[in-house]
Amino acid sequence: MILRHGKISGFVDELVDSLLNGEQADLLSNYSSEVTGGASDVDSTIKIPIVFVYLHEPSNDQATSAPVLEITPEQAFLASQRLLDGFNIAMIESNIKFYLSDKPKVDGDIIDYPGSILIDTQDFTSETTYFGLLEEGGFGNITREFTYYRDGIAIGDQDVDGNPIVGVNKNVIDEAVAERVDTNNVFTVVIANKLNATNINDTSETWAYMTGIHPAVADVKSYYTILPYYGLREIIRDDLGADVAMQLGMSSMNWYPNITFPSEEELVVESPQPLYKHIIGSMFGLLPLGISSLELMQTPFPEGTCSTSGCILTGGEGDCCDDLPPRITPNYFSTIEKDIVLWGDIDCYELSSEEIFNPVIANPMNFILDSQDVTIIFSDEQVNIMRSGFETNGTVLKQMKDTFSEYMSYSLYSDIYCEDYPDNLRAVYLKKSSSNKNYSEESTKFNSIKTKIELLCNHIVYK
């Protein structure tokens, strides 16, 4: 992956990277053509397993300049349940429903806390060699070792000028996640500390908010999304523990010294739904917010566009939906934008000249809708695009839907399966034995004789 914009949206960078790769561009184009052709029956619930993977540092020797982030399994499970609720509310109009998976690898063990995996990151390191200015003078190859704890995750291999990005190579995270989750079968959300976008020769730090890939390239790139801890709502941080909330606050000051995060009170919008819709929508085949034409996306200062003509995946300039223009805000971490509607069936937003010439950046956390959160919904066309992906042969989404039961223990799955049946039916049929005969008396006699035999034999065998 090549970092094109240097900041903010890994979704956009990943998409542009794929569009510039001939093979991946074909995959994107084919996917777009297939899913926009068919209509989906929104009455049927699409069930998808989900797992939240928490990267933390329970025992890190490097913990000298910043606090260690340690999360217990119980805290992670609590947060996962709340995130699950949020994700499902965000997808309600699409009738796509997530369920916490307790068997995230088909041949693996059942995990103790469904939908929750903790990964210790203390060994996450990688080396990068690049051509640069040597300390002793002159130019030559320089090798630097990065750690997850100190440097975060490099959001790309290199920027648009070919400079490496600071941070642990994302392949390290890919491998750690793949060891624990079948990511093409279980929707995977990795919660991490930071996505680094800083050029290796640049002293000013830049950070991305989240990242993920389009489902069309799931077999080429690792199909999961990364959401930083600081993107979580305060209530979820509290679930993770008061100390964690404090640590994250302190960490953000260390890692983002030049950024002032708006508090939740300042955000006005109380719902995290725009954020969740952005993440899930992007992972389910909608184009990420802030996309414009491929040409514009490659310029040093990429412009946003309000064109709805065509679809960027097939050479056009639109977002592949007829009725939804791309939206931009001038700065991801900027102060709150007013009156911006990002997801919805609306006319093209009139961009100011200032915004047009700013990098294409979208910040779901900056939505302001005067408390009208309910208006932030997917359009019918967007719902259709997402759902069609689950009904198109060969897609990662259809694979997730079709293998749903394999990623749940039977007891968990039977409960989910029975959701669709009346209580009396499931209770009578699935759990009750075929007769009311009770074998308690026989069992008591059986046990009594068994105990006598054990006493007799143990006396001989173990004397």
Binding site: S405, S434, Y439, E442, L456, C457
Partner: protein, 185 residues
């Protein structure tokens, strides 16, 4: 005659797996309750077969039960199904770990412990589970571990000595006799 389902139930030699095998057989003059002819044929595309396992066991002084339902469709990785299109002669092998996934109460079992097992089979329409073609209940008295213990006790007795304690022999013979009665409870 209606479908007369027959099962053979046993454990593996290491007592760690419960094995349930269909012995219903095909319909014939000698087997009017067999599969086919006037009775249902368990085609995979229209039939669901559920095995319901219920175990009675003691936790301290208290008799408790644990029950789990195993669908052949869901547990096909644990089943040997000789025919491509139907479930005849299926053999379902459920390791103790798999049983524990469904039956939380037996999480402390290290093997398929010796207890009384009430095992039922239900055959129904896969699109309408209330449309039942047949069901039957069996009682399996598992003596796998106890049998091994008695065998071990028998081989532990030294019959060659001159001053052997005959009481040991009496005890193990009594145990062997009790084992037989255990199987006939």
């Amino acid at each position: 005659m209606a479908l007369d389902l027959k099962l053979d139930i046993q454990t593996t030699n290491d007592c760690r797996t419960l094995v349930i095998e269909d012995m219903t057989g095909n319909y014939s003059e000698d087997n009017l309750g067999g599969w086919g002819e006037l009775n249902h044929i368990p085609y995979k595309n229209n039939t669901s077969i559920y095995i319901i396992v219920k175990v009675y066991f003691y936790e301290g002084e208290e008799l408790v039960t644990s029950e789990g339902v195993f669908s052949l469709d869901t547990y096909q990785n644990f089943a040997d199904i000789p025919f491509e299109d139907n479930y005849k002669k299926f053999k379902l092998a459920l390791p103790i770990r798999t049983l524990q996934e469904i039956m939380d109460e037996i999480e402390g079992f290290e093997v398929v412990e010796d207890n009384l097992y009430q095992i039922s089979i239900r055959v129904s329409d896969s699109t309408d589970i209330t449309n039942e073609y047949g069901h039957k209940e069996f009682v399996f008295k598992n003596t796998c571990m106890t049998s091994k213990l008695v065998s071990k006790a028998l081989t532990s007795i030294n019959l060659q000595c001159e001053d052997c304690d005959d009481s040991d022999l009496d005890k193990v013979l009594l145990a062997k006799s009790l084992l037989e009665s255990l199987e006939n409870v």
